[in-house]
Symmetry: D2
Subunit: 258 residues, 4 copies
């Protein structure tokens, strides 16, 4: 049976996604802030420990992607390549190294959800929007003074909204999401009460990367309560910074850490 | 960390679904037909064998659900309980027993997709519609002569459409989906080329069931090609029957077969 | 050129909706309350006056419909017949008569939006959900103690949510939406600053009606702010009642009042 | 009462759209072809006549927009500014002038639908996707050899799909959509059998325009049947050309022709 993921068939054609490498082109809006470090620590399961420095740092990131597997055929049927996501990244420590870790993420297409589950991203479906740069008309160029909005909703409730205003080029795109990712992958046992069918800590990062200049930005960020979400519990105690960057990324697997 | 599935947190509130038991109320439209038995066999991985009798039988089933976990709070925020799905069931044999097996399935909500992956259903996101019975106005009652339409789309392409016309009460709701389910659960290794992180054959079925009378029906069924789907390859060679039934079901885990 | 509405063609087949009569089968959840009568009056343009009695009464109504034109073919392709809506009704007076009037309404399909604009309903697109009664499983039956949730969102923001609990059969389904509708129909001039291309006050109501028993209910209702909506300004000052009813309705045109 | 369109209130805030001028930034994929001129003529109501030259020319255009009213606040809540549309343009003649005319159009947001109805575009809701250019990763740059896909669906059926490959800069962006638009605006009478409440022929065009270089392209185009659409009847008899262009446009009203 072929197919990277389900459903598997003799051809593999129906699989919700072809296998990696996966290639991405997109725009990232990043808002970094500090919350109570205890709230970040509470989201880090064993064997992860809080980051040694700035352990309350959080990045809320919006991404507007076009993605494909090798060959790129998804790009020409864009309902199969375009998606948007919004995700929350914190940092943690394992075996003496600092990792980034996605603790919440919402995405608007199933192929991306499936890829993310493979990578250890805790993906749920949401509705994500972000202003796109454009060279003409009322949309912003990527330049000082340009303003971009970004919003997240799930379950018919708005969960987050940000407006950023670009100020100047930045030597980096933030520090919270700048490490390899340390994610748990796990599936509960089909038999209630028995140990998970698998549970592992994995590391992965970009296999290839290119990007334009990062821009620093001022940001306003608002988080909203929902009975099914815990994003708003990561209250904004102090703004760190915000960034805009266009990137091209390839992901091609990771390694098992534990 | 709590939470039946991701994302896991100290409270478990953000999990894409609470754990089982899961309770369902809904209407099922079932269309059974025969395709080339070799096509069914080709969808059965080791160690499954084709059913001993009528090995080319296929059931295409539409379901319009309201579902909840214990306590039922999802029912009062119905964006969290209502979903529709369309799925393809065949039969297979393992260790001397006959099982039903879902080979393709599309659903329109993430909580259902996540529950399904746990159960071994190969769920992808689709757009599913079926006519609902209603006691007043132009919608059909559940009675002889009543007609119901059912459609499936994914990736902005229509994949299947059926119209059934109820003829008379039936002693059963079809035979293809009448066995315990035998499903594979599996996750590829994060490290390309290495063995799956887990791969198992599981069995599950209803922990509780109630239902109204089944109705037999005449059916017209049309399947359509898509570059990302293989449903249409299960060509309709011979109609078997069609059914309508309202049911209440509870699912509460399964067992590992292999 | 044929076609009740656009686009018009020699066959009329592409029209966003066939012409009336339009037939509806569905379930209504009605929550009636009093707001400041001045807020209702402010939504009544000339020549309408506030209702003589209880001029602050508001009905917030959720409806889960299957609708069709004569012949009913939409019912068998249910993406073309099923839709949900949530709307706000107040009462007003014109020429000595009391009318109901829809001041806000959200719907989730274009064919319904187009029909509504024809009828003078100020329809916008939203996301609407309401618990459905079902004879089996965890969903409610229509009986004392049954609880139904209902929610409204637009622009990725939740605007309203209600939970009702049925208490006993009711001799009526509320009084706010019980009169003929008095609606304005209007289109601004394509030439800025010039008079409307048409503007008229129309009356319409059901051409045929059947329905099950109405049920009285207790209700909790919450309204939420949005930068693009004014529903929450109709604050709940006093609960009046709530109702559940299944109905079948036909609409077949109206008359011009002014 | 204020509000450019419904619902009208004392503040006008709830109106489905603020009034013009409306500003747009977006990318256009245009595919021009010839169909049987009689099929175009059949879509032109009185008093319009077929274009004098090349009367069977058709442009199928995809557009990926960000749009706003003066002030631009919609851009920062992008669920209110971003939309996609696909539309069919032909040419016609009136009073000795050549006009463009949109005969079919699908769009994915209500504010755009409402603006379009005001402009005489026969808008329905659809699902529209087109590949976006991007400076990094696997998405195309705007350059020779770049390939873009574009798709249209409505009612859960795919209606059209195109793939274009840019060949060289073009001195124009096609000729079919290059004239002022001549559209009918009309609303049937609320009283069946009576004359339309208004019916008029209007002209409008861009009040301001800027754009990047147009690119010529090779195109493959496929149209698909649907029971509710007539796009596929405009069969492709001969390819004319295809184009890609990024533009900024302002629309600010039109004039009544008849």
């Amino acid at each position: 049976m072929k197919g990277f993921l389900h459903p598997r068939t003799p051809t593999g054609r129906a699989s919700v996604t072809a296998g990696p490498p996966w290639h991405y082109a997109g725009d990232l809006i990043t808002v970094e802030y500090r919350t109570d470090p205890a709230k970040v620590a509470a989201l880090l399961p064993e064997p992860l420990a809080p980051a040694a420095e700035d352990p309350g740092a959080v990045a809320l990131i919006w991404a507007d992607w076009q993605a494909c597997s090798d060959g790129g055929e998804e790009l020409l049927d864009p309902v199969r390549s375009q998606y948007r996501e919004c995700f929350v990244v914190v940092r943690c420590r394992f075996a003496g190294r600092t990792y980034s870790r996605c603790v919440f993420i919402w995405v608007d297409k199933d192929f991306s959800l499936a890829r993310g589950i493979h990578q250890g991203y805790p993906k749920k479906i949401g509705s994500i929007h972000q202003t796109r740069p454009h060279p003409y008309g009322p949309a912003p160029r990527i330049e000082a003074g340009a303003r971009f909005g970004a919003t997240l909703a799930a379950g018919d409730r708005r969960l987050a909204e940000a407006v950023i205003e670009l100020t100047e080029p930045s030597p980096h795109n933030g520090f919270v999401n700048a490490h390899p990712m340390a994610h748990h992958r796990r599936q509960p046992n089909i038999e209630p009460g028995k140990p998970d069918s698998y549970s592992e800590l994995v590391e992965s990062g970009a296999a290839a990367f290119e990007g334009g200049p990062a821009w620093a930005a001022r940001a306003e960020l608002r988080l909203f309560e929902s009975p099914t979400e815990e994003l708003a519990d990561l209250t904004v105690e102090e703004h760190i910074g915000a960034y805009y960057r266009q990137v091209g990324v390839t992901w091609n697997g990771g390694t098992v850490l534990a």
